[in-house]
């Protein structure tokens, strides 16, 4: 009961700041897990971004502050939870995506392929791909999206929380973009922008 009271105090603080926090999804652990997987898939080509927290805005600063309060009030075990990413399915998907990245890297750099807001990739500028390579580029994008969709689902399954899939997808969507190389394209607010 005491814990509930503490939780609701924390809830009141964060709600007062117009921020909703899903207490049950370990967002920080998910970001760390996503970063590890992204590093493996993109190899040394992924730009090492030092700060794990996302940039921008009063709301995210408040979110971070609220998370810190909850860290104090909620027993340590749940706050330091780690996301399981060692399942055979995840390993096999990482290997497949990492092998494909060797071909995709050139298309990221040329702007032909960009990162979407749903954690997927899209052939945003087919014109910058030599004509004879376009069917292959389209096929690579389709295969990469198939793997990415399976990855988000596999991570949720490995943690016995299938309902986490949308949150995992959203976490990855942010982190792929955060860790993209300068010059790569990504979707933001419905438009394509360049990093």
């Amino acid at each position: 009961m005491r814990a509930n009271w503490l939780l609701s105090v924390a809830g009141a603080v964060s709600l007062g700041a117009c921020v909703t926090i899903n207490v049950y999804f370990p967002a920080a652990a998910a970001e760390r897990a996503a970063d590890r997987i992204i590093d493996e898939v993109w190899g040394e080509q992924g730009a090492p971004k030092p700060a794990p927290a996302s940039k921008g805005g009063v709301s995210s600063a408040l979110q971070r502050g609220a998370l810190a309060i909850l860290d104090l009030l909620i027993p340590a075990a749940s706050a330091q939870a780690n996301i399981e990413i060692g399942s055979p399915a995840i390993n096999s998907l990482k290997a497949s995506m990492s092998a494909r990245h060797r071909e995709l890297a050139a298309y990221y750099a040329s702007g032909a392929v960009g990162l979407t807001a749903q954690g997927l990739v899209a052939l945003r500028d087919a014109k910058s791909v030599p004509l004879a390579e376009r069917p292959r580029a389209a096929q690579l994008v389709a295969a990469e999206n198939r793997d990415r969709n399976a990855l988000y689902q596999a991570i949720a399954q490995a943690n016995s929380h299938p309902e986490w899939e949308p949150d995992i997808r959203a976490t990855f969507a942010r982190r792929w973009i955060e860790r993209a190389q300068p010059g790569w394209w990504y979707q933001s607010g419905g438009n394509w922008t360049q990093r």
């Binding site: 055979p88 399915a89 096999s92 497949s96 014109k127 069917p135 096929q139 596999a154 490995a158």
Partner: protein, 686 residues
Amino acid sequence: MIARTRRAAAAFACALCLAFAPQRGAALDELQLSLDALQAPGWSSGPIQAQLHADAAGAIRLRVQARELVLPAPLQAVRTAMLECAAARAAGTAVHCPEARLTLELDGAQRISIAAVVDLDPGAGSLRVRAPRQSVAGGDLTLRLELLRGALTLDTRIDAMHASMLQAALAGALPIAASEGTISGDLTLQLAPASGTVHAALDVTGLGFSDAAGLHAGEDVDASLMLDARRRGAGWQFQAQAAMRAGTVFATPILLEATAQPLQARAEGEWIPGQRLRVAQIELSAPGVAAITGTLEAVLAPQPRLDALAFTLPRSDADALYRRYLRPFAGAGPVSDLTLSGDLSLALDWRAGAAAHAQLTLFDVDIGDAAGGFAVLGLDGALHWTRQRAVRPSRLAWEDLQIRSLAFGAGAMDAELDGRALRLLAPVQMPLLDGRVRLERLQARALGLAEQRVEADLSLTPVSLQRLSERLGWLPLTGSVSGDIPQLVYSADRLAVEGDIRMQLFGGRATLSGVQLEDPFGVVPRLRASARLHDIDLAVLTRALSFGSIEGRLEGRIDGLVLENWQPVAFDAALRTPEDDDSRHRISQRAVDNLASLGGANAVLSSTFLRFFEEFSYERLGLSCRLRAGVCEMGGVGPADRGYYIVKGGGLPPRVNVIGFNDRVDWATLLDRLRAVASSPGPVVR
């Protein structure tokens, strides 16, 4: 509608009459006329302005401008037309401009200026424009146009004009931009209210074009097009031919390259605009495949849709057909990475919502899927598919069928394909290792829809588990599996065994239940099952696994087994000595050490001098593991003072207890220990 033209023309003519009538009084040296709109069959115009200026010498300057033009193809891109006459001469109602300039503005802000001789006679309802050969848009143009009482004749020839002019003609029909290349050709049109003929011949060289997204584009295209059409009633009868001699075209998702063999298409038929398109004869030839012939019917209103299609693809190379024309449509799905060899032919006769028939004939075709570990070799036969027609049996025979590392040998299948249903007509028998698999029944319905369902019944004559496990790279099993495999059902992306699979295993029995494979053709197939083990002879088991020697019986259960990519990610397993087992219970020193090492380094022999004995007695033994998230929660046959008993001593001395203390063991570590045990050289004396 003609009356409206006539009235407008008449009004215009009157104005001109006034202008050119012999002067009777005040001189008229400037006249302006404007019309808001003009309508004629097949074309219309927005505001028309005309200006007339007569100078003192009697020479007349004329300027007529029509805006917001809506003209029939191929002039549909012309928006504004302006005719300027520097020195017009009049004779009655006719005007003759020997030095006229016709300026056309096209969609996309392009502008053409043509010098011509213009004769205009509104009273007779006639207009004649003759443009002698001159340079326009980087090429040469010759043009002759006659409009007589609503009948139009156009004769034009262009030479080496820049390809951007082609875009102007196509504007509105196709949203593409032509960036390079030249066009040459001629066009002859005769249009009258009730009749018409068109003859067009076009040749492009080095054409480059693309739409905004780059999904429909071409490079270095050399092509020619010929069209002949004649008006018949409400429609047009046409004959068209197109050939691409060189270059590359990408029309998503297919890439067309004219290599040694040009792409050619011919079509003949009838087009009723806004209603129907009927192509009575199509011929297509493309690199890698034999020439396709066929017919097509489409309904154009309210939405364009295909109404009937019939074609024949004669015997062609299956791999070329797949790689160029089929695989691009497969995306990244299950049939997107096949290797094919051999030939096939295909014929289709299809009518929307009515009878249809297709035949696919295979000539020594091999199909392989490296990712799925599947191959069929030497497929021969014909598949017949019918809908709303008498069913025709299909027959396929093959020389070899391989799934993973299992080879099923030769076989043949007789089946019926009807609409969305498939039915096996006779059992199919195939050899498997030292036994035989029989597909007793195979039935499918609603194929291609979300509710599709495939059912199969299999039976096996005894197949050696030793050979099977060897072939599949499993832990060595001894025993056999045989009998009726209960019904296999594939639906909603899941392959399930309805019922239990029974097998003889290690001198006892095993029953597998609830076996299902989720997402079998997907990226991560997931196998679920439960198992019960009865009366396993531990002597046989430990000999097979090189685990040392344990005598006795074992029973067990494995619940909730989940394999991802064929590796365990979860299960709830418990193996133990059966309650009423009265067989000999002996365990060798090596087996004791191995069990101890499985339980973790903390397992302890209850009496150190017992290490000098080769064999011990036990009352009962057992091990359990509940695997979740990479961690095995371990247990044994019962609690000890601290920890749990893996082996509980009993019976004649010497006895031994093996006690485990680690109740949470990392699964990967446990597997490493199992592998170490299986490959260890001999007992370790401690």
